[in-house]
Every structure is written in C-alpha cells, then in structure tokens.
C-alpha cells in the first residue's frame, strides 16, 4: 500500500519534525474523532454482538483511551434502554429549553433590526 514513486526509508526521517507531526496528527485525531465508531457499532458493543477483533478495539477506545465522546454516547444509549432514565435530566432539559428559547428570541429580535 506504499507510494510507488518514492523509496523513502525510516532513517531518512527528521526525528524532531516527525515528533511535531505526530503531535499535530494526535490533535486532529482527537478533535475530528477520527477513530470513534459509529453509534450503531457502539450499540452493538453494548449488546456484545461485535466480532472479537472489533470488541477488543472498541473496548480499548472506550475504556483504555477513555474517549469521552464515545463514553457519552454509550451512557446515552444505556439511558434510553433503562426505565425512568430521563427523571434526573428532566428538570435540566426544561431549564435548557427555556434558556435556548430566550436566546433565540433575543437574537431574532437583534438580527431583525
């Protein structure tokens, strides 16, 4: 799968630049959620219905790497399947609704001037 045009060797790489490049890749990887599985795969993980390799990877991503996005999705998926799951969040969602409506109306009023 390598580029046919070049035969670059590892020893030709400039270590400090590779280090900086790796940090850039890392930052983009985390921010763009490059390896976050789709919610359908997370649901299958929760239901223990992935194959062994997939299960091992998702477990690493969620538990070892502790991806907060995927942990949040799993918690949300678990909440949807539990009875009375919404009770602790209901008051908060009302408050959130009110504050958002307030800002929407305020912004519409400002934007129309």
């Amino acid at each position: 799968m390598t580029d046919d045009h070049d035969e670059l060797k590892p020893e030709d790489m400039v270590p400090e630049r590779v280090e900086r490049f790796a940090m850039t890749v890392g930052s983009v990887w985390r921010e763009a959620r490059v390896s976050c599985p789709h919610a359908d795969i997370l649901l299958a993980f929760q239901q223990d219905s992935l194959d062994a390799g997939q299960m091992a990877y998702v477990r690493f991503h969620v538990e070892d790497a502790a991806c907060p996005y995927c942990q949040a999705v799993l918690e949300d998926l678990g909440r949807e399947r539990a009875p009375d799951a919404d009770a602790p969040l209901e008051n908060f969602r009302e408050r959130l609704r009110s504050s958002t409506i307030h800002v929407l109306r305020e912004k519409r009023g400002r934007d129309s001037k």
């Binding site: 790796a22 983009v28 991806c67 959130l96």
Partner: protein
C-alpha cells in the same frame, strides 16, 4: 439519528433547536460530566454549550457535522472551566502516562489560536487540519475493513494518546521499539500516499524527510 436542517437552525427556528437539544443534550451532558464530575457544573456547561451553538450557528462550517460542532463547543467550555480553576494552562504532569487517555489530554490547554493571529494563517491551518482529518479517517476505515485492529490500537496509542514507542511495545506485547517505529513509519507513508491521491500538490508531510532523501 435524526437529520437536522442547518438552514432552519440558522433561521433560529425554535422547533428545530428543540429537536436538536432533544437529541444531543443528554450526550453533551454526559460528555461534560465525564470530565468535570460535578453534576451542577455539567448542567451549567452544557447549557453554555448550547447557547454558544445558537450564537455561532450563522458561521457553521458545513465541512463539519453538527455533532462535531456541538462537541467542539462543549469541549472548549470544559477547557475554559479548567483554565479558570487552574491558572497554569498546560498541565505540567510529572507522569506522562497518566495523561494517556482522551480525558487526560482534553483537560490540557486548548490549542485554539490566539486572537491576534492572522485570519489567512488561521484558514490555512484549518484547511490543513480538515485535509489531515479526512485522510486519517480514510486510513482508519481501511484498517477497520482489513480487520487490523491491533495496528489501529497501536496507532491510536501513538498518535491520539501521544504514547512513546517503548510504552507501546510493552503495552501491546510487540517485539521491541523498532517494530513499533516501523508501524508508525508505514502509517505515515500510507497517509502520505492517501494525501497524494487527493491532492498531488499537498504539503502536509513537507519536511518530514531530510533533503535529498528519495
């Protein structure tokens, strides 16, 4: 997952925003709470994230998904929260391995640009980041399709978590550091090839090899 109309959101349509909140507020709340722990703080920051989303929706960049947009704002609110609590922006952690998780790294200083950096330079960095994100996702999809989950774990550990070659060799039971370095090198080569397929003129990997290397 529901589809949302960016046009309706930008038109500040209350029912569209209500649908968006219905879908994403639990997820954003759980994401924030993982990091701040305190329930009330998590609610407050989640609320701030959605208010920020309303205020910024006119400038929504469609190269990102709504989910990325919302999580991005939430992440910035969390970083700001930790900055206020702890004046030193960058975690001077004596034990680097304790930050080998997304949550550990998320709590470090944001890499948002400072206000006085030029708009042109900013756009250039944004374009390069978007290009790099696209080829990384393509590469991850290749590894997933090929069932190369061990390699994917190693690369995620090295790149996303900033892990060292030696740590990776021990953690993933690989022969030695050189083998890990080889995995990293071949990944960079593959990313370079994918970048070339998209844009032969790209300069994403400029300078990684010493001048004169073929």
């Amino acid at each position: 997952m529901s589809d949302f109309s960016i046009a309706n959101l930008q038109a500040l349509d209350e029912s569209e925003w209500a649908r968006l909140e219905e879908e994403y507020s639990p997820r954003i709340f759980f994401y924030v709470k993982k990091q701040v722990q305190d329930h009330q703080t998590a609610e407050d920051l989640t609320q701030e994230a959605f208010l920020g989303a309303v205020r910024g929706i006119a400038n929504f960049d469609e190269q990102y998904t709504l989910e990325q947009y919302l999580f991005g704002i939430a992440r910035n609110r969390v970083v700001d929260h930790f900055r206020k609590k702890r004046p030193i922006p960058i975690s001077q952690n004596d034990d680097p391995s304790s930050s080998r998780s997304y949550i550990g790294l998320e709590r470090m200083a944001s890499d948002r640009r400072t206000p006085d950096e030029s708009a042109v330079a900013f756009e250039s960095v944004q374009n390069k980041s978007a290009a790099l994100a696209a080829i990384l996702k393509e590469y991850v999809a290749e590894l997933w399709m090929a069932g190369e989950f061990e390699k994917l774990k190693i690369l995620e550990f090295l790149f996303a978590l900033g892990g060292r070659n030696k740590e990776a060799a021990e953690r993933f039971d690989v022969r030695d550091e050189k083998a890990i370095a080889g995995i990293k090198f071949r990944a960079i080569e593959r990313l370079r090839a994918l970048a070339r397929q998209r844009d032969p003129q790209h300069d994403l990997f400029e300078g990684l090899w010493s001048p004169g290397a073929r």
